[in-house]
């Protein structure tokens, strides 16, 4: 149980991000420090070696001019001049016996036996370890012309002291680096994950309260997380629209079904109460059937509208020659027009191809034509036009009705809206909403323009190719 919070912490991206960042930061900083240390150590050693070699050459030259004495003199004069005596000097006979030896007094005790026992090799470096501390005596050898050898050396004491200091500095630097690495990693993780935490908070708020009005704050950096926030907001908006649409549909359905359902109920109830002749019952039953038919039609239309509006309508797109389709729609309403003595005029080319859902577009155009016929007075005209623009097809339905007042014009596409003058006309007011929804589902749009007493024009704009 006590492991659980730790376990959860280990699984967070923030923790892992911190860990990775810190690890990489610390490791690379350490690598640099170690590299610097080795570089320093090696350059110090090189300098020591150079000093030893130059001293060796010096003594070699002196030996050549004045033998051991010259070297002794030189060492003495160095001492006298106050020069620090830092060098080990040994002169060995050809048989490797010590002829002369100079060890600075302050030096630690070195075991010199290996020098006498080992064979003498020119230019090789001999390392002698001190008996009581970590210092090392580095010695190199030069052969002299008389067969004896000259050895010069120096302890690493100074160097070690310097490096010791550096090690201390490096250790503190490393400590600082680790602290900085962890803090930096933490900072980075917190910073990078802030939008994600925001996302989590937003989502949790939505999940807990069910209110999808919440939105992610979007930064200005246009980075991936901003993109995510933006997309998430877009998704929320879409869901919001869908839910609102569904709610509205449900409200509308509930509202619109109440009236015919009430009538249906009333008719059935009245018939059941009375003791009338058979004919009364037949009438009542027929009324019920008609009302139920109306309910069904309304439900279907409302479903179509909400499907088209929410983008869930299945469109079967196929190449269609629009004039043929329009001919069929006109054919359906021909007798209706004739009965009302309305002249149907058409103006469209014989060929106009586009990809649409044949049935749905027929339905939409049918509704527009139906509407135009409904509102045109007997003896009026209804005109259907179609034309082509680059990438677009325009269909116009013109009527000679009373027109729509400017204040009513924007509302005609709303569900169940009907201009006041048309109360006497039949229809459920859903026709134009359905037209708008179907055309919208085809990525097109509809417009209506009207002048009172001069008729209305409904324009349908359809893209030739759907994206």
């Amino acid at each position: 149980m006590s492991l659980r919070p730790l376990d959860r912490l280990r699984k967070t991206i923030g923790f892992r991000l911190t860990l990775w960042y810190s690890a990489i930061f610390i490791l690379s900083a350490l690598a640099m420090v170690i590299l610097a240390y080795f570089f320093l150590a090696s350059s110090l050693r090189q300098k020591d070696h150079e000093m030893i070699l130059s001293r060796l050459q010096e003594y070699q030259a002196q030996y050549r001019t004045g033998g051991i004495r010259a070297i002794r003199q030189e060492l003495a004069s160095e001492k006298y001049a106050g020069k620090p005596n830092y060098f080990f000097v040994r002169l060995a006979s050809p048989a490797n016996g010590t002829l002369f030896l100079n060890i600075p007094d302050q030096w630690a005790d070195f075991d010199l036996k290996p020098l006498e026992s080992g064979a003498i090799q020119e230019k090789a470096w001999i390392h002698l370890r001190a008996k009581d501390d970590e210092n090392v005596l580095e010695i190199t050898t030069a052969k002299l012309p008389d067969g004896s050898s000259l050895q010069v050396g120096k302890t690493t004491e100074n160097r070690e002291d310097l490096l010791e200091t550096f090690r201390g500095v490096f250790a503190s630097v490393t400590l600082i680096v680790i602290v900085l690495g962890v803090i930096g990693g933490q900072f980075l993780a917190v910073r990078a994950l802030r939008p994600i935490r925001q996302l989590i908070l937003t989502v949790r708020a939505i999940a807990d309260t069910g209110k999808i009005a919440a939105r992610m704050p979007v930064g200005q950096t246009r980075d991936e997380l901003d993109e995510l926030a933006r997309l998430f907001n877009q998704m929320l908006e879409k869901i919001d629209a869908l839910i609102t649409g569904m709610k509205e549909t449900l409200d509308n359905v509930a509202h619109d079904l109440r009236t015919p359902m009430t009538r249906l109920r009333g008719v059935a109830e009245m018939a059941l109460q009375g003791e009338g002749p058979m004919e009364t019952y037949r009438e009542a039953l027929a009324d019920c059937l008609e009302e139920s038919e109306r309910v069904l039609r309304m439900m279907n239309t409302l479903m179509d509208i909400s499907e088209a509006e929410t983008g869930t309508m299945q469109l079967t797109l196929e190449p269609v020659n629009l004039p043929d389709l329009m001919d069929k729609v006109i054919d359906l309403y021909r007798y209706v027009a004739e009965e009302k003595h309305i002249t149907l005029k058409t103006a469209y080319p014989r060929e106009l191809h586009l990809a649409v859902d044949r049935d749905r577009l027929s339905q939409a155009l049918g509704n527009l034509l139906d509407n135009a016929l409904k509102y045109s007075p007997p003896g009026g005209n209804v005109e259907l036009e179609a034309s082509e623009r680059p990438g677009q097809v325009i269909i116009l339905v013109r009527d000679s009705g009373p027109g729509i007042s400017p204040e009513d014009l924007p509302k005609i596409w709303d569900r169940l809206y009907r201009g006041d003058k048309s109360r006497s006309q039949r229809g459920m007011g859903l026709g134009l909403s359905l037209v708008k929804a179907i055309i919208g589902a085809h990525q097109g749009y509809v417009e209506a323009s009207s002048l009172p007493d001069a008729g209305s024009v409904f324009a349908v704009y359809l893209p030739k190719q759907l994206q």
């Binding site: 009324d287 139920s292 279907n300 299945q314």
Partner: protein, 224 residues
Amino acid sequence: MRLLVVEDDAKIAAFVSKGLEQAGFAVDHAANGEDGLHLALSEAYDAAIIDLMLPKLDGLSLIAELRRNQISTPVIILSARRTVADRVKGLQTGSDDYLVKPFSFSELLARVQALIRRTSGAAHPTRLTAGDLAMDLLTREVIRGGGRIDLQPREFALLEYLMRQPGRVVSKTMILEHIWDYSFDPQTNVVDVLICRLRTKVDRDFEPKMIQTIRGVGYVLKAS
């Protein structure tokens, strides 16, 4: 004539069976897809009425299974789904007709009768008569009471449709589908208008009135 009804809703099954029996059919009923398939495979039916949403085996699979077994009994699908895509899917699977719930029984009956007539290859008459009304399908002449009646193409088509099934009710939906090949609600009742015109020409000056309205259901042509 023997029919199979596969429908899981007991009430619907009861009124459909009862209605079909009253219309002179022998009806077998199965309440789930498996029983339906068993019956359809073991008995010979003139037509089957199959609901899409069935327990155990859904309607489409049932029809597909029938067709796989070389049984070509005509099938009418009953479905609560009304989209064109569903309709097309049903017809592609091998059904012959598609009826959306809620449906009127008269329409179901008419469709069953039409289906049986179609599949049994009934003779194609060149002349239809009902009472004193006669229609010549070759010369497209319509005569009532000895006088010629001029009909426009859609009026002729509707009268022919009614005369081909005298005494049987046809619904507005059936007329829309048959005359205009249109399967949507056209808001204004274009069928009413067409019926009205046909009545003016065929019935107004004659007795008895042959084209009768069955309110809430449809129209019927009666000779007497």
